[in-house]
């Protein structure tokens, strides 16, 4: 039985590669040539699909592109209007290419992979905001504090109806104060003087860099665990949901995930205090990351985790208190309210439909909460008994995504980097399976007569 320390102790930064080498002194065999061609073809498919979505989205007038300042006007006229079937076909094609690349992971050269990941990120970065209006909420909360002198944890964008950003925020979020952590709100403040378009570019830069940083941290963490880093990095960096929904929407979940993975990487390098501090910082961006902390604590069993977490919590608390006063903790109640929302894509909604019920009722929420608590307790006990803590944290994140009644595409990204480096391969299969089911559910309009 492997002990928790043995699972996560630092190992040689250059693990023995599992990639196949040609037996005849490196000469390219026929098989190798074909697999290289297949890899290039699959990557080309992903790049072409992403480019098509971005160029078509830049043409505007699409239900998949939120009404916004025309920040990608320089791409105008290249593509045609992005319609839903095109997007779904591209998403399906990219998913198939992604699956093919995962199957050929041992044949993918690290440089090819890095180039592909960077190209995909750059293509999405230069385009308009895709598939979500969340970025306007981020900008609005920054403007509430910096331009209008209002506390974003007390007031929603509806407090500034005369500000242009108000009309861009999603209708259901206009009256809602910030549900994000105080650290993220503070990050948004320096971007506000850049204006609405400047702030949007700022969040796009942050989201793209955070996503690339996550890939790098996954790579380094896999090396620390003595694994070939290509497959874990590929799982994250080429993931169609991450590229189109995550980076495309410049979601702050990417910043949360990057900080969370920084914490995991530091902890795997026996810098537990700093690791726990980074996880607390991630939770101060978006609260979900806090779920990783008890697994880190039980898995590492070092006092540094507690001291690091406490120190970071005190630091974040003090800074928040100075910046936002006692209301900086109000986001917790906003989050609680948000848990009562229901999205059509959530698994609980689909399961209730399967059993002939019209939707999720309060009693179902209680059952879901009970199931989630039960799962987390089971996982914590398992970690206490020696189960890999990264796998435990990944399962917990996945359980949160599966049991929430408010599931959005980018919530499936919380688990992805943890699952990519988890010792238990089942969690990676489950995470990719959940993403696949989400994509299948998106295909409904393809069969609809409307």
């Amino acid at each position: 039985m492997t002990t928790p320390d043995a699972i996560s102790a630092p190992v040689s930064p250059r693990p023995q590669s599992a990639r196949p080498r040609a037996a005849n002194g490196g000469a390219i065999t026929g098989e190798r040539r074909w697999s290289d061609l297949a890899v290039i073809a699959l990557i080309t498919g992903m790049v072409a699909g992403t480019a098509l979505v971005v160029l078509d989205a830049a043409a505007g007038r699409s239900g998949l592109v939120p009404p916004s300042p025309h920040i990608a006007a320089y791409l105008d006229g290249v593509g045609s209007r992005l319609d839903f079937p095109t997007f779904i076909y591209v998403l399906l094609t990219m998913s198939l290419c992604f699956a093919g690349l995962l199957a050929l992971a041992r044949r993918v050269r690290p440089r090819t992979l890095v180039a592909a990941i960077v190209i995909l990120h750059v293509i999405v970065f230069v385009g308009p905001v895709l598939l979500s209006q969340d970025i306007f909420s981020y900008v609005a909360y920054g403007r509430l504090g910096v331009v209008h002198g209002l506390n974003p944890f007390v007031h929603g964008p509806s407090a500034i109806p005369h500000d242009h950003i108000y009309r861009l925020v999603g209708i259901q979020w206009r009256h809602v104060p910030s549900a994000y952590g105080p650290l993220f709100t503070l990050i948004s403040y320096p971007l506000t003087p850049l204006g609405i378009e400047g702030a949007m570019w700022g969040f796009k830069v942050l989201g793209t860099l955070a996503s690339l940083a996550t890939v790098w941290l996954v790579w380094r963490s896999a090396q620390r665990l003595g694994r070939d880093p290509v497959l874990p990095a590929m799982v994250v960096g080429l993931n169609p949901v991450l590229v189109l929904y995550g980076v495309g929407g410049a979601h702050n979940d990417l910043i949360m995930v990057a900080l969370m993975m920084l914490g995991v990487w530091l902890s795997l390098g026996v810098r537990d205090g700093w690791g726990a501090g980074a996880v607390v910082a991630a939770a101060a961006v978006k609260a979900t990351a806090v779920a990783v902390l008890p697994f880190m604590l039980l898995g590492r069993r070092r006092s540094g985790v507690i001291t690091g977490a406490l120190a970071a919590a005190v630091a974040v608390g003090l800074v928040s208190l100075v910046a936002f006063g006692v209301h900086s903790l109000d986001f917790v109640s906003v989050l609680r309210r948000q848990q009562s929302f229901v999205s059509f894509d959530s698994f609980p909604t689909e399961v209730t439909h399967l059993f002939g019920l019209p939707g999720v009722f309060p009693v179902d929420r209680l059952l879901l909460r009970g199931a989630l608590i039960g799962m987390v307790v089971y996982l914590l006990v398992a970690v206490w008994r020696g189960y890999d803590w990264v796998s435990g944290a990944a399962w917990a994140m996945l359980a949160i995504a599966v049991t929430t009644t408010w599931l959005l595409a980018w919530y499936t990204l919380w688990t992805l980097p943890l699952a990519a480096i988890a010792r238990d391969r089942r969690v990676l299969v489950a995470t990719l399976g959940v993403q696949a089911l989400f994509i299948v559910h998106q295909c409904t309009p393809l069969f609809s007569p409307l």
Binding site: V351, L354, D424, H441
Partner: protein
């Protein structure tokens, strides 16, 4: 969860899987089957609802040829296939609502089994309904015989 390390011996030869790990895997597979079935069922269900909405609008236009298709709002039944289609009719001071049911496969329209009226700009709630007929009358959906003041 059972540690995967326990499934291989120190010599590298595969060891029998831990019974708890097997139970976990079975539970995960069952959960995956449930979620997969739920997703497929939801796609089929939603496509069926969309098909009904299309037929409901077509039926509404058959009953009220002056109705504009894009102004017909259909509220699909959540527990059954009884849908309610309402629309502002050109020139009318109120909205006409039809209760529609019946199959949606291999048909061009659905059956109208009831109707009622709503004042313009009022939600479809019990207190605003009037002039119920058919199933709406049987089910007592209207508090008023005539338009409410």
């Amino acid at each position: 969860m059972t540690d995967v390390a326990s499934s291989t011996s120190s010599l590298g030869a595969p060891a029998p899987a831990h019974p708890l790990r097997r139970i976990e895997t079975v539970a995960l597979v069952l959960l995956a089957v449930l979620l997969g079935a739920a997703v497929i069922d939801d796609v089929v269900r939603q496509v069926g609802i969309d098909k009904r909405i299309l037929l409901d609008k077509r039926t509404y236009r058959r009953e009220f040829p002056t109705a504009v298709t894009k102004h017909i709002f259909v509220n699909p039944g959540k527990r059954d296939t009884l849908d309610i289609a309402c629309a502002h009719l050109p020139g009318a001071t109120d909205r006409g609502c039809l209760m529609l049911t019946g199959p949606s496969q291999r048909v061009t329209t659905r059956n109208v089994v009831g109707s009622y009226r709503l004042p313009r700009r009022h939600p479809d709630k019990y207190r605003y309904r009037y002039r119920c007929a058919g199933l709406a009358l049987e089910r007592g959906l209207c508090p008023h015989g005539a338009a409410p003041r």
